[in-house]
């Protein structure tokens, strides 16, 4: 699947997470970033949103960069 499609799927999954506190809490309970990425991929697939771990990791890096950029 093309990266752009996976990014869109991650975006759709993000909307599901924001609308579903339980889903967010599950992801929030992960102990480290690697566990979080693995669980996001798994839960995404279970909810019909397929994306690879590399797409999640790239999104985290981009969000972190954007956040820090504002505060520097």
């Amino acid at each position: 699947m093309a990266t752009i499609d996976q990014q869109q799927n991650l975006g759709r999954f993000g909307e599901l997470v924001l609308a579903n506190r339980e889903l967010h809490d599950q992801l929030r309970a992960t102990a480290n970033e690697a566990d979080f990425v693995a669980l996001a991929v798994q839960l995404g697939a279970e909810h019909g949103c397929e994306f690879a771990a590399t797409v999640v990791q790239a999104a985290i890096n981009e969000k972190r960069r954007a956040w820090l950029e504002r505060w520097l």
Binding site: G14, V17, L18, H24, L27, T30, E33, F36, R64, W71
Partner: protein
């Protein structure tokens, strides 16, 4: 919370603050842990800034109690940390979203003064929400350069009593010599904020720029104080001698315990509260270079004298 522009439109990036109070020396220090976990970083609500009005009203935030403006390096963080020591107080200290709104017109021609006034009201409405039962007062310590926006801020909140904190300028310049604040570095703030053109700024030496910025901040406060607004407070009045008069000015009353708690906070280094406070005025004056003394004399001594003269007329006794 963070404000950013997407496709030319101002957006709000939300984070979950949970039960965390604003007790850190700066807003950013309280906010950063909210996005530490990747789940919080990756999955956050984004709304248009123009939608903030609806959000701000439900439930409405507390009305601001007092504003703190300052020239920087003059005890403003000490004051905000003292206030934050009382659970009754919400203290927003140099909150970046407010800076985003106040300076929005430099990046977005659609950010008229009217809209910025509205955005600021909404933003404060959201940030000043009561999240703990004890909270009933809201104090906002602005970034030092926000005194340049005093007329706009007063339009948004006309009845909120404000103070301007300042300090013997050689001591402030000594602090700048040790470590320059962002606002003292050319290019960080828009030259138009001080009525300068970029070419003129480009010709200024580093510490000359710092001294002239500090001078502009003091002049802006002086102008309003001479018009009978606000109160001027000198660093050397902090904290105990001025505290009762200041609380009366802000129309707040605290229990003996809370007053003691706030005054105890003054015993600590405001920016690094694990360390005790140590008076450093003499050491600061002794450490200044001849260049700093000359720049202070040229750009700051006059306005400092005027602030002192005005304070003797309209300041706290």
């Amino acid at each position: 919370m963070r404000i950013y522009w997407r496709d030319g439109r101002p957006m709000v990036d939300w984070g979950q603050l949970g039960t965390r109070r604003f007790t850190d020396p700066f807003f950013a220090q309280t906010i950063h842990p909210c996005v530490r976990h990747p789940a919080d970083l990756l999955f956050r609500h984004q709304t248009l800034l123009d939608e903030l009005g609806e959000i701000a009203g439900s439930p409405p935030g507390l009305r601001p109690t007092g504003f703190i403006f300052h020239m920087s390096r003059c005890g403003s963080t000490l004051m905000s940390q003292m206030l934050a020591a009382a659970p009754e107080n919400i203290v927003l200290s140099e909150a970046a979203p407010m800076d985003d709104v106040l300076r929005a017109h430099f990046r977005d021609p659609g950010a008229t003064e009217e809209r910025r006034v509205q955005w600021l009201q909404w933003l404060v409405g959201v940030l000043a929400r009561r999240r703990h039962p004890a909270e009933k007062n809201v104090f906002i310590k602005f970034d030092s350069w926000h005194v340049m926006f005093l007329p706009l801020i007063q339009r948004a909140f006309p009845d909120v009593p404000w103070i301007f904190l300042y300090r013997e300028p050689l001591e402030v310049m000594a602090s700048a010599q040790k470590q320059l604040g962002g606002q003292m570095i050319p290019g960080v703030l828009e030259p138009a904020l001080f009525g300068w053109d970029p070419v003129a700024v480009g010709r200024m030496q580093l510490y000359e720029y710092a001294a002239r910025v500090l001078g502009k901040l003091c002049e802006a406060a002086l102008t309003r104080a001479q018009a009978g607004q606000g109160k001027l407070v000198n660093y050397h009045q902090l904290p105990a001698t001025i505290w009762p008069a200041l609380m009366k000015y802000w129309n707040v009353e605290f229990s003996t315990d809370e007053n003691a708690r706030m005054l105890n906070a003054a015993q600590l280094n405001a920016k690094n509260p694990v360390l005790p406070f140590e008076p450093d005025s003499q050491a600061k004056r002794d450490s200044t270079s001849p260049e700093m003394r000359q720049l202070t004399q040229q750009w700051l001594a006059g306005v400092y004298q005027q602030l002192e003269a005005q304070r003797s007329v309209t300041g706290f006794a």
